[in-house]
């Protein structure tokens, strides 16, 4: 079962919930619960590749790193006739022909291969241009993976795609928790693709509600995925998030109160269930409810 933890609005506690959910499952009795047994049975992926923070809380030992590249065209000027066909077919304007020169702009290239396929002289080959990396390791019994976008690179999606391919490819049972990026555009969609359940973390404020609605539009309405809500910093703001969830029939699965102890613990890199261990049982209950929803 793959659970993505998202929010729309940033800073609502996605990483707090995702890391504590994984740690709560790890803390349990693996035999009776059926997770956390061999490698791959409890997996955590930080898909927030622009600003990945989960490692600060899970403190994994990372023993594997691979670069993520996009295939960028390289033109053999000996074979090129400067016909300009490559520039004509490139919708990103990432390749252009100026006189007897061909200019490639790697930061605009999406790696689609259209220029290579359309070159009448077969003068283009592709070389990987590094845009980020995928790091993997373990945090206790949790198999951990994170994507990291290189600074200055615009495209997060290929890094997320590679992270998911690498770790979710062989997953047949167990639980995978995906920490999604904030926002509701392409990196969020890429993270949600193929998951079984979307847990949306919000705060009961006008900003939280506004962005929760957008996240529900993507997860439930566009991608047809089941969604549930965690209300974080419960007690701050107003009741509009509850009214919205009731009206939409979206279950509120957990409430985490506004509590200075939690905020201070998180600020030092302590996970929520490290600060308040009584939440372990609550997160395990949360997983049972999600499992029941997914089974339906």
């Amino acid at each position: 079962m793959i659970i993505a933890v998202g929010s729309g609005k940033g800073g609502t506690g996605k990483t707090t919930v995702a890391t504590s959910l994984a740690l709560s499952l790890e803390a349990g009795d693996p035999g009776s619960a059926g997770w956390g047994e061999g490698p791959g049975h409890l997996l955590f992926l930080d898909c927030d590749v622009e600003v990945p923070n989960a490692a600060l809380f899970l403190k994994p030992v990372l023993d594997e790193s691979e670069t993520v590249g996009l295939p960028i065209p390289e033109v053999d000027l000996g074979a090129c006739t400067f016909c300009g066909r490559c520039a004509e077919v490139c919708v990103w304007h990432a390749i252009t022909v100026v006189g007897e020169r061909v200019l490639v702009f790697p930061e605009l290239c999406h790696g689609c291969g259209s220029c290579t396929l359309n070159c009448p002289e077969a003068a283009i080959r592709e070389v990987d241009s590094v845009i980020g990396k995928v790091e993997s390791g373990r945090a206790g019994r949790i198999v951990f993976g994170q994507g990291i976008l290189d600074v200055g690179q615009p495209m997060a999606v290929p890094v997320i795609r590679r992270l998911k391919e690498k770790h979710l490819g062989g997953l047949t049972d167990g639980v995978a928790v995906l920490d999604a990026p904030s926002g509701t555009s392409c990196p969020f969609v890429e993270t949600l693709r193929g998951v079984d359940y979307v847990l949306l973390v919000t705060e009961p404020t006008p900003f939280g509600l506004h962005d929760l609605r957008l996240a529900v539009e993507v997860a439930r309405d566009e991608l047809a995925l089941p969604v549930g809500v965690v209300v974080n910093r419960d007690g701050v703001g107003n009741a509009a998030v509850d009214d919205y969830c009731r009206g939409e029939g979206i279950p509120v699965l957990l409430r985490i109160p506004l509590d200075r102890r939690i905020a201070e613990g998180l600020s030092e890199g302590h996970p929520l269930v490290g600060v308040l261990p009584e939440y372990i049982a609550l997160f395990r209950g949360l997983l049972r409810r999600i499992s029941a929803e997914v089974a339906r």
Binding site: T12, F57, G183, T184, G237
Partner: protein, 302 residues
């Protein structure tokens, strides 16, 4: 014309609340235009009480559409698509629009001319009037791509409106993260105000955001929000700023008045002008203003 962008890397550090307060304070002394560059979580309008005056469609990229009447089911399109967007079913091939990158590689490979690229409306951009000045904002439709392109559209419009109305300062509320939309919000601005949080995540993301703005040669100032949540981490940020030669322009205490102001739909500096948060923000604005006045104009600023 000067352009100021507020960034944070990490979400939820208070960027939008601080943008609204700065917009309020700046509008007293300068003539401002506001731009909400967080197009897939546009919240600035919620605290500016805007009156919508213009709404325009935003055309994002294109997606491939297969004509089932012309398709001979050869499967070449599926073979060339690197984004797994071509789906094969018993009744033929079709394109998953949410996966299609819009590259058109399949169009050129199709021997039957059965594939067309169809432009997609990916969102809307708006102009509104607020009591502090015109606001340019946008809405990206659920799950669409090209948020960076929409940010660029919002910025182009904000520059146009600034020139047309003879105003002199654009204040941009940036998106979280450091990728495509954040880069689009930051390139060519005169100054970035980085809103940091004194937490392990906040410091990690401040470093990445700073590296991004330095990569694009944008000068930066740092502000610590919710500073008293963890004074030790706040001093780590202060030491980091000293080490890197960055101006730390203020420390704002954590106060639920910021949330109460948001619920009331106002900048905190209007909601509780005499409070400690508002006083701290006024001091921040003065430093930002002085820095903007002394900054050499950026390449795209004029």
């Amino acid at each position: 014309m000067r352009q100021l962008v507020l960034l944070s890397g990490k979400g939820g550090t208070g960027k939008t609340s601080i943008t609204a307060a700065i917009a309020h304070l700046a509008s007293v002394q300068a003539s401002v235009v506001l731009a909400d560059a967080d197009v897939d979580g546009a919240n600035l309008e919620l605290v500016l009480d805007p009156r919508l005056t213009e709404s325009h469609p935003f055309m994002g990229g294109q997606v491939a559409v297969i004509d089932p009447l012309r398709c001979t089911q050869c499967g070449l399109c599926e073979g060339v698509c690197r984004f797994s967007a071509v789906l094969s079913a018993a009744d033929g091939y079709r394109v998953d629009p949410s996966a299609c990158e819009g590259c058109a590689a399949c169009v050129y490979q199709c021997p039957d001319d059965a594939i067309q690229m169809v432009p997609q409306q990916a969102g809307l951009w708006f102009r509104s009037e607020t009591r502090f000045g015109p606001l340019l904002h946008a809405r990206l439709f659920a799950g669409r791509e090209n948020s960076g392109k929409l940010v660029t559209a919002v910025r182009e419009q904000s520059r146009r409106v600034t020139l047309e109305t003879g105003r002199n300062l654009v204040i941009i509320d940036g998106p979280p993260g450091i990728g495509c939309p954040t880069i689009a919000a930051s390139t060519g601005v005169d100054l970035a105000l980085l809103v940091a949080e004194p937490t392990a995540s906040g410091i990690h993301d401040l470093r990445r955001t700073l590296a991004m703005v330095e990569h694009f040669r944008v000068p930066a100032l740092v502000l610590v929000n919710k500073a008293d949540i963890n004074p030790r981490q706040a001093s780590v940020i202060a030491a980091f700023c000293r080490e890197r030669g960055l101006d730390l322009v203020g420390e704002i205490p954590y106060d639920t008045v910021v949330t109460r102001a948001m619920v009331s739909g106002q900048p905190v500096t209007m909601h509780e002008p005499e409070g400690v948060v508002s006083a701290a923000l006024r001091a921040v604005w003065e430093k930002v203003r002085d820095r903007l006045a002394s900054a050499a104009p950026a390449g795209m600023g004029e």
